[in-house]
């Protein structure tokens, strides 16, 4: 009963003209920001924060605008992943694996609609989860110490082997490269700098947005130049645009499972949306009987990461609101916004400021519908991008990439670094080494290392500390299975498999 009262309060706030229009504006801006390479949800929200102050919005309105941008960007990231093979932001990276091949087969429209619907399912259910479970889930963070986090990241890396369908060793090389890059910067445990060459620009490490734009967008441009425009990725066929009801129904359980995996990853502080979409994709792949279709435009490979990353986005709001611990880069920026608005997130936020929390939840529910309506019919508009000749489109992508990255820190060094990553990406592509594990290495490697070292400090160097709780033991077992299973499965799969899915 109390829940409905609270919801009524929330909708009372959300359904005013101002709040509603802010949500719509936020969704549109967010979708654009998400789709542009180099502008992800976190810097998109950061760039728009001054807007909230200029408009003199009150706390709830500001939060509504910013979270709409956040959700919008999570939806928007998939568009360029599918159409251009360039992820709009880091959580959309996994969508390139099957989304782009699907588009190449002439099903760009279907891929966009399907991923739009999966995004909706993930985000909508996650918002419900946030509404019902936030205060309980908040306590989960107290059970995750350094040892548990280490096991969680280990799980992610152990399942990585299956990502590059062709050659596991090449995936491993790519991961190691990413892990190496993640070590650049000031080491938090000793305060010493590593691999910076004394360059101040590298003290904070390599920003993964710089890496992702370099490895994907800039590489694409190089490939285009090399082949004099013939061998461009932008060779996607448009395909007819209809609502692929069959595909949506076929992936309903995929979406649901991915939502649960993504939401759980989001709730754990530090894991975030990228881990959510990654684990959703990998778990779906390991559940599938026929794995060969993954990476070649499998509908499950499109639905799972999108449901997963949007659910993680919702999940990440749980620790931010109830503990003040940001679960992802974007929630860190949102947290800062809350603090500036004199709202202290914490265990009591739900009781002290119900109008903020429930207004936010109601808006998120509405924003989801706005985004669904915005994204499905607008697929036609998005796919128009494909009719732009590559010789016009790619210079545009180049420009957006440079402006986006420059807006991060306002330093030309990041631009040089981005070009460097472009060269690296080009080399990797020539060697047929996948770029996705590199990014995951950069994204998660630092967290994993730091967790291990914290665990070692706490245990005085005793390794058994890593297996000290049920949670960590469970994660270790899952990681072990994730690592070993593909080796056995491969020999099994070589035998003729029964027909069917």
């Amino acid at each position: 009963m109390e829940l409905f009262q609270n919801l009524a309060l929330g909708f009372g706030i959300a359904l005013t003209l101002t709040t509603l229009s802010l949500a719509i504006i936020g969704c549109i801006l967010g979708t654009i920001i998400g789709a542009l390479p180099g502008l992800g949800p976190s810097n998109g929200v950061a760039i728009l924060i001054p807007l909230a102050f200029t408009l003199e919005l009150d706390a709830t309105q500001a939060l509504v605008l910013m979270t709409s941008v956040y959700y919008g960007a999570m939806y928007g990231g998939r568009i360029s992943s599918i159409l251009l093979n360039i992820p709009g932001d880091e959580p959309a990276m996994m969508t390139t694996l099957d989304g782009y091949p699907m588009a190449k087969k002439g099903r760009a429209g279907d891929a966009l609609v399907l991923s739009g619907v999966s995004s909706f399912v993930g985000a909508f259910l996650a918002t419900i989860g946030l509404m019902l479970l936030a205060p309980i889930l908040a306590r989960v963070a107290f059970y995750f110490g350094p040892a548990e986090y280490f096991a969680l990241y280990l799980l992610a890396f152990c399942t990585l082997g299956g990502i590059g369908a062709e050659n596991q060793a090449k995936s491993a090389i790519a991961v190691c490269l990413g892990l190496g890059i993640s070590m650049i910067g000031v080491d938090n445990s000793t305060g010493m700098t590593r691999f910076t060459g004394g360059n101040l620009h590298l003290y904070d490490g390599v920003d993964f947005l710089v890496a992702i734009v370099g490895l994907f967008a800039v590489t694409e441009i190089f490939v285009f130049i090399e082949s004099r425009g013939k061998d461009s990725a932008i060779g996607v066929k448009l395909g007819k645009i209809s609502i692929p009801i069959k595909d949506i129904l076929a992936t309903k359980w995929t979406m649901l499972r991915a939502t649960i995996v993504g939401f759980t990853a989001g709730v754990l502080p530090g894991a975030g949306a990228s881990l959510g979409s990654f684990l959703a994709y990998m778990s779906e792949k390991s559940l599938a009987k026929e794995k060969k279709t993954f990476g070649t435009g499998d509908i499950r490979g499109v639905a799972a990461p999108e449901a997963g990353n949007n659910a993680a986005a919702g999940g990440a709001l749980v620790p931010m609101l109830t503990l003040g611990v940001p679960g992802s880069g974007t929630t860190a920026v949102l947290l800062a916004l809350l603090m500036t608005l004199n709202i202290t997130p914490g265990p009591l936020l739900f009781n002290e400021r119900p109008e903020v929390v429930w207004g936010l939840i109601a808006t998120l529910l509405i924003a989801n519908f706005v985004l669904l309506i915005l994204n499905v019919p607008l697929v036609k508009v998005f796919t128009k991008i494909l009719q732009v000749p590559a010789s016009f489109l790619l210079p545009g992508v180049a420009m957006v990439s440079f402006v986006g990255i420059y807006s991060l820190s306002g330093s030309y060094f990041d631009l040089l670094l981005m070009i460097g990553f472009g060269v690296l990406g080009f080399t990797l592509r020539k060697l047929k080494i996948p770029a996705v594990p590199v990014i995951l290495g950069i994204l998660l490697g630092g967290h994993m290392e730091v967790s291990l070292r914290r665990a070692m400090v706490l245990s005085n160097g005793d390794w058994t500390y890593l297996f000290n709780s049920y949670i960590s033991v469970g994660l270790w077992i899952a990681a072990f299975i994730g690592f070993v299973a593909p080796i056995f499965l491969r020999s099994y799969l070589k035998k003729p498999t029964p027909t069917g899915k």
Binding site: L51, G191, G198, H201, G324, V325, S409
Partner: protein, 321 residues
């Protein structure tokens, strides 16, 4: 509504085309939006203009990188004679300068303008912790340092770490390399590690733990302030408990070294006016800042004093040579 849309458009153009030519002065926040330095720039410059202490709006620029070192280098190398530039700083700036973490740049390459508020340092334990006061905790750490770790929001050797070491130093404990500290991502994260029972205590700033104090999840053993913090009068100071350590994370500004004396004076006066204003008092209260007013040359002396202490501890700790 139309007014809203108009200001929306204005906001858009401001955020996307933040051209410096519109503004006559600039405040650099050496970090991304959100967080302490950004707050310092945005709040102080806004009040400065609102109360008429400065006659035009001041542009806020975010220049993240190198823990503030990038902005520091920019000011020293490219803006050394800029009369219309202020930069946000805090205890972290002084700590990093003292530890030579800005690739060889030193504190005397800029001029510290002043600080008008501070986030008091605190030591916090979980509500079910056996330690009821600071001495209990410190004695336990001294007796068995291997099994009493601290969690804090700054890197090892950072300000949160040093606060603990200073307190232990007052108890005559000098084997500081034995003290276990894990640097996590911010105060709230340090609290979850402590409430979760992974570390014995948390060291941080009071603004980061307010929500947890109210919810009853934690107990604050001591604040590192001269007097009890307004609004938190039931928290004893470390001084009262015989540990004479004052460690606050001050929020202030510096200006370029080569800027004219006239401009330094002008900025000092403007900052002083902000510090005395009712608007600033309100902002301080909302953000858990305690009064801390040191503006002008005596602030420079204060910074130099703190840096000497930080340097001595850091050398002993091995975070600098």
């Amino acid at each position: 509504m139309i007014k809203k849309i108009k200001s929306f458009a204005a906001g858009l153009s401001v955020s996307f085309f933040a051209a410096t030519s519109l503004f006559s002065a600039e405040c650099i926040a050496p970090a991304n939006p959100g967080g302490g330095w950004d707050f310092t720039c945005r709040t102080i410059t806004k009040i400065m203009y609102d109360i008429g202490a400065y006659d035009s709006p001041i542009q806020v620029t975010n220049m993240a990188g190198g823990g503030g070192g990038l902005a520091y280098g920019h000011v020293v190398n490219e803006r050394n004679t800029d009369d219309n530039l202020i930069v946000a700083a805090s205890s972290a700036t002084a700590t990093r300068l003292a530890q030579n973490a800005y690739s060889g740049m030193t504190y005397d390459q800029v001029r510290f303008l002043g600080a008008i508020g501070a986030d008091p340092g605190v030591i916090v334990v979980a509500a079910d912790s056996p330690y009821k006061n600071l001495n209990d905790l410190l004695d336990a750490v001294i007796a068995d340092p291997a099994n009493h770790a601290f969690a804090g929001g700054s890197a090892a050797g950072g300000f949160d770490h040093l606060k603990v070491l200073m307190a232990l130093g007052k108890k005559g404990f000098t084997d500081i390399a034995k003290v276990k500290y894990i640097g996590v991502d911010g105060d709230a994260d340090a609290i979850t590690q402590t409430v979760g029972g992974f570390t014995a205590a948390m060291t941080g700033d009071i603004s980061g733990v307010v929500g947890f104090i109210k919810s009853g999840d934690v107990r604050v053993l001591a604040s590192f302030t001269d007097e009890r913090i307004p609004g938190f009068e039931d928290i004893p100071t470390a001084k009262e408990q015989g540990i004479d350590v004052v460690a606050v994370n001050w929020r202030g500004l510096y200006t370029p070294k080569g800027a004219s004396d006239a401009s330094y004076k002008k900025w000092t006066e403007a900052l002083r006016k902000v510090g005395d204003s009712a608007e600033w008092k309100k902002a301080m209260e909302a953000n858990g800042l305690a009064p801390f007013n040191k503006v002008g040359p005596n602030f420079q002396d204060y910074v130099v004093g703190v840096m000497a202490e930080v340097q001595a501890l850091s050398k002993e700790l091995g975070v600098m040579k």
